[in-house]
């Protein structure tokens, strides 16, 4: 296990290093990052002064070295729009995004696991077909559109829930459900297919032939093994949730990092966008590392690969 942890940590360090290069390189997609940040009516002198102030007139490798050495200390520069350290701004909004993504993750697991199990154990019945149809639709509808439709139903017509903002538990329900919708659909199908595969194994037949109750066979013997691949999916899902949060936060005026990024884009505040993307990607790497380690712990076969 120790060898596996060391190997996986080494891989993560390489990835983090690569993420920093890629996040830095994103600024240079147009060749000159200042071209995205300057106003239309700026004079040549103003542009030159801005480029010098931001350090864009230095060679790219010097700029990268500077970016990296400051980033490891949590210094991602100052926001052009808010005139505040961007790290501080992002951390102020992070709890809102984590609350939204965490709730969506919880909702997706709580709903999709029982649904997947029911669907697999009643394969071919109307319940299974209904669940699979719902899952297909859930995977096909854009998350933000589902958010709009939920808002239309529950906030505009029925007036049961607030249409947006972050004021108490009620305001969390609609954004979290709409953000979770895709993952509920995908996880249900994944749990179903894993359960079907596990249920066809010999040890399940043995368990049944021992006279164990069907409930024990399904929940104690089958589900535990069927859930192992789902653990990996949670890591991938988190990436989807963080990306989806940007759009969901925009629909529901949720004051998280996603909206900060969109505000940064409309305000030509590239340092803010770059820092937010880097921090979210680093967080994503960290979570996936933890999940891989957990996976190695749950499934000994993984450690030797």
């Amino acid at each position: 296990m120790r060898g596996y942890i060391v190997r996986r940590l080494a891989q993560a360090i390489i990835v983090v290093f690569g993420v920093s290069i890629m996040a830095f390189g994103l600024m240079f997609l147009t060749g000159d990052p200042s071209s995205v940040m300057i106003g239309d009516d700026w004079t040549t002198e103003q542009v030159a002064e801005f480029r010098h102030r931001m350090g864009f007139d230095r060679p790219w490798y010097v700029q990268y070295g500077d970016f990296l050495s400051k980033a490891v200390r949590g210094d991602f520069g100052t926001s052009l729009r808010h005139h505040q350290p961007v790290f501080e701004l992002i951390m102020e909004r992070m709890p809102a995004t984590l609350e939204l993504a965490g709730t969506a993750l919880l909702i997706s697991l709580v709903i999709s696991i029982p649904i997947g199990v029911i669907s697999a154990t009643r394969r071919g019945t109307w319940a299974d077909n209904l669940v699979m149809l719902g899952a297909m639709l859930g995977q096909s509808a854009p998350v933000y559109w589902l958010g709009i439709i939920l808002m239309l139903l529950f906030a505009v017509f029925l007036r049961w829930l607030p249409p947006g903002g972050r004021e108490g538990f009620a305001s969390l329900i609609l954004p979290a459900i709409s953000l979770a919708s895709y993952d509920i659909a995908r996880n249900s199908r994944m749990v179903r297919s894993c359960m079907l595969e596990v249920l066809s194994h010999d040890y399940i037949r043995t368990a049944r032939s021992k006279g164990l109750a069907e409930r024990t066979v399904i929940y104690k013997h089958a589900l535990r093994n069927a859930l192992i691949p789902v653990v990996t999916l949670v890591g991938i899902q988190l990436g989807h949730l963080l990306g989806g949060a940007v759009v969901t936060e925009s629909v529901f005026a949720w004051p998280g990092v996603g909206r900060l990024i969109l505000d940064g884009i409309s305000g030509k505040d590239l340092p803010l966008v770059q820092a937010a993307v880097t921090i979210l990607a680093m967080g994503f790497v960290g979570v996936n590392l933890m999940i891989d380690l957990l996976y190695g712990f749950l499934d000994p076969r993984v450690r030797v690969r």
């Binding site: 709009i148 439709i149 595969e197 759009v247 629909v251 590239l270």
Partner: protein, 290 residues
């Protein structure tokens, strides 16, 4: 006539004829493709025809609706049906073009990575891992914020960043066929690496790539609509489903139909592709049938 009959009798079409859900998916896709190709001929109005005096008309079946605008009009008096039909063009152009770029890049890199192994393999797979560290939509948003709006930019961003899945799957498939006898035989007969890769290995790893491509078209359509919804995709002058939904947000309380039709169009198109993709996966690899 004879050749048409024999084509219809091929195992692929015979299996498709038996799959009800897949037939539904094919029918939906056929409809979307026809609408996209023939939009200028089929639409009752010009999609960008602005007439303020007829703004925000409800759908035809409402008491105040008009027959000539079956799905109503938007805030600028543009016909919603015509814009939804033209939106199909952008969605398909983005979906297919992005997948063509991603597939070409990913399959090539996967073949090279799997066949040569060693340092080349390490390098390509590390780059793949680094890219996978970015939540996909976040990466698209960041890239589009720098590149700016534009159809070509959307296609490039989705295409160039979509290579990873193909590369990983094709690499895995190459690893499993690389040491097989027929590849060994081709090598022994003096076949060059390029010839072996493209002539002997490619045809055996193309099935998983087709499955990924089908799902990628759906994902690209969803991603384009999200970017356009956020104002980062195709310019708002071009009718897209995502930008229609973005415009409709302001009118959600009193003109909710504006938020419904483009969303249904996206959902049906993506559903059609996903259903066909699911069937293709089962057809090409019966082991994963569930």
């Amino acid at each position: 006539m004879e050749s048409r009959k024999s084509l219809w009798e091929k195992p692929f079409f015979r299996a498709l004829r038996r799959a009800r859900l897949a037939k539904f998916g094919v029918a939906v896709l056929f409809l979307v493709v026809v609408v996209a190709l023939a939009a200028p001929l089929l639409t009752p109005h010009e999609p960008n025809d602005v007439v303020i005096t007829r703004r925000l008309l409800p759908p035809q079946w409402s008491p105040k609706g008009q027959v000539e605008f079956p799905l109503g009009t938007d805030q600028l008096g543009r016909d919603v049906l015509s814009r939804v039909m033209h939106g199909a063009r952008i969605s398909l152009i983005v979906g297919v073009s992005a997948v063509a770029i991603a597939g070409t890049l990913g399959i090539t890199l996967g073949l090279v990575s799997g066949y040569f192994g060693g340092r080349v393999d390490d390098l390509i797979m590390r780059i793949a891992e680094i890219q996978m560290a970015f939540p996909p939509l976040l990466l698209f948003i960041a890239a589009m914020s720098v590149l700016g709006q534009g159809l070509l930019n959307v296609i490039l961003v989705l295409g160039v960043s979509g290579w990873v899945n193909y590369a990983r799957v094709v690499r895995g498939a190459v690893l499993s066929v690389r040491e097989l006898d027929y590849v060994e035989a081709a090598r022994a007969m003096g076949g060059t690496s390029l010839r072996i890769i493209f002539r002997h290995i490619l045809r055996n790893v193309v099935a998983p790539a087709i499955v990924i491509a089908s799902f990628s078209v759906a994902q690209s359509i969803l991603a384009e609509s999200s970017l356009s919804f956020l104002g980062l995709g195709v310019p708002s002058s071009v009718p897209t489903w995502g930008s229609m939904l973005a415009d409709a947000r302001t009118y959600i309380r009193h003109q909710p139909w504006l938020s419904v039709f483009p969303g249904v169009a996206i959902m049906l198109t993506v559903l059609g592709i996903n259903v066909v993709g699911d069937w293709l996966r089962d057809y090409l690899d019966p082991k994963v049938k569930t």
